[in-house]
Amino acid sequence: MIVQAFAFYLFAGILILSALMVITARNPVHSVLFLILAFFNAAGIFVLLGAEFLAMILIIVHVGAVTVLFLFVVMMLDVDFSTLRKRSVSYIFPSIILGGILLFELVIIYTYWYMAPEALTNIAQDQSAFEGLSNTQALGMVLYTDYVFAFQMAGLILLVAMIGVTVLTLRKRPDIHKQRLHDQYLRKPSDVLEITRVTPKTGV
């Protein structure tokens, strides 16, 4: 128990600190790197909870894909961050209002916390069917049976988003030379190479 408590406070502490650093770091690349650290520690807490599948998926999806894309974007953007920071001062009043509204709503949610009776019965449901299963198997058993519609729906939405992104970014650039692999494969050495016997001092 001592070891687990120690590990929890370690993970949670680093998680909160790195989350703070994400929003306070001066360099946006450093922010993304702290975000990676935060994800990693969140995965550690998942492992402590016994949810090792979720922990690994969190790292694979968020660190492996999402933050790598963030890093790409942040590194490729050529933005002068000092002027951006100066201009952001003028937005301080609207952002305080927005933040205040969010905080107010959170407080309301917290004070009037109410759980639907259906959710309560879900929690109280018999868990004995999952006894002795690893949590990958247990997740699979509900994901592909009870929640298969929601699961497929999520996949479909992602597919639509993917097609949308491809359509938005695909553009024909006539000024750029593009290799046509098919033409390249059809090229034979006899089309482009010629072996000639050259007598000295005459040239080809």
Binding site: M1, V3, Q4, N27, V29, H30, L33, I36, F40, A43, E52, F53, M56, I57, I59, I60, V63, G64, A65, T67, V68, L71, F72, M75, S134, N135, T136, Q179, L181
Partner: protein
């Protein structure tokens, strides 16, 4: 045994002794694995130079020690005794953190690799996913190395490397799904021990070929070594590194090569089991078979480097996204269908029996 569970019903002294033994054993095992991997890395570089030399009718390293056997040690001493140069305007902390992170990630992954039956430090249920998580972290550290150097070449190398690793990770994931369809577990030991009939192995063969090509791309090896393409971007994300930090990057690269070979032999070649189901060879220790299989795949790595020229970048992306990804996707569906129609999915027979019993139970209740 788990020292934390025993704490409840034992005295504190016993708990301390037990957890002390457990800790000592873990540390000893980890040290053994780390030293073993590092020695393997050192002699993999030697083997690479010797094999490349042999294929190009040269002798390879010959001067240091008998047959040049001490060459890797000499190289190591040279690298460690050099001066570490940090480029001006480099992001100092990230610049130094990246090689350390990359190196430690390439060693961390070994905790889930079973060398023989039961010879594994962390026998976790999600071993395959753990390996994937570690490799996605190492993508991040390569980008960090490329960005922190504050050099165009290094940055381009880092971007190349990351986009290449991400592209091939997708089809690698689908290939692993094919293997998991047969074994029904994410635990690497259970993957090795799961029964595989001959027709299933024949279906897995094209996946093995694609996996071998994908690990070449994943380890940034020839013919996919665009990240450190010497002729185009001088050395990719490693240009600005020197001495220790450079040594760590190289060590990580070769440790990753060995790791991916070990993973291939676990997923496809049966890990520590004797090859081709020849059980009469079972008297040979499993770790020897494991080492031999891994070495065979490492030879394949070096062989392709000696044989094939470097891919162009659009060819690399085309191969990953337009050929491997659709093919593996179709193959997953095909394999799942075949296994399902022959009742060969893991647990399928039990599930059928279970539903039949349930239907019978419901029918009986309705009759009452």
């Amino acid at each position: 045994m788990n020292p934390i569970e025993d704490f409840a019903n034992n005295s504190l002294d016993l708990w301390l002794v037990q957890s002390g033994i457990w800790l000592a054993w873990t540390v000893a095992y980890s040290l053994l694995v780390i030293v073993g991997v590092l020695v393997c890395v050192a002699y993999l570089t030697y083997a690479e130079r010797k094999i490349l030399g042999g294929m190009q009718r040269r002798q390879g390293p010959m001067t240091v020690g008998p047959f040049g056997l001490l060459q890797p040690i000499a190289d190591g001493i040279k690298l460690f005794s050099k001066e570490t140069i940090i480029p001006s305007h480099a992001h100092r902390f990230v610049f130094l953190l990246a090689p350390v992170l990359l190196f430690s990630l390439s060693l961390i992954a070994w905790v889930v690799i079973p060398f023989d039956k039961g010879w594994v430090l962390a026998n976790i249920n999600v071993g395959v996913l753990f390996l994937f998580a570690i490799s996605s972290m190492s993508v991040c550290s390569i980008i960090m190395a490329g960005w922190a150097s504050n050099s165009r070449y290094a940055f381009l190398g880092g971007i190349h490397s990351a986009s290449q690793m991400i592209s091939y990770e997708v089809s690698m994931g689908l290939i692993i799904v094919c293997v998991l369809l047969v074994t029904g577990s994410l635990n690497l030991q259970e993957i090795v021990l799961a029964p595989r009939p001959l027709w299933v192995q024949v279906m897995l063969l094209p996946m093995l070929v694609i996996f071998l090509v994908s690990i070449l791309a994943k380890c940034n090896r020839a013919p996919f070594d665009l990240p450190d393409g010497e002729s185009e971007i001088v050395g990719g994300f490693m240009v600005e590194y020197s001495a220790m930090s450079y040594a760590l990057l190289i060590l990580a690269k070769y440790a990753n090569m060995i790791l991916m070979s070990a993973v291939t032999s676990i997923l496809f070649l049966g890990g520590w089991l004797p090859p081709f189901g020849m059980n009469f060879l079972g008297f040979v220790p499993g770790i020897i078979w494991f080492a031999l299989k891994t070495a065979a795949i490492l030879f394949f790595f070096i062989w392709t480097r000696a044989t094939l020229p470097r891919f162009r970048y659009d060819q690399l992306m085309r191969l990953g996204w337009k050929i491997f990804l659709p093919f593996t996707l179709i193959w997953v569906v095909f394999m799942a269908g075949m296994l399902m129609s022959f009742d060969a999915l893991p647990g399928q027979k039990q599930a059928k029996a279970f539903t039949a019993a349930q239907i019978e139970h419901v029918m009986q209740q309705q009759e009452k």
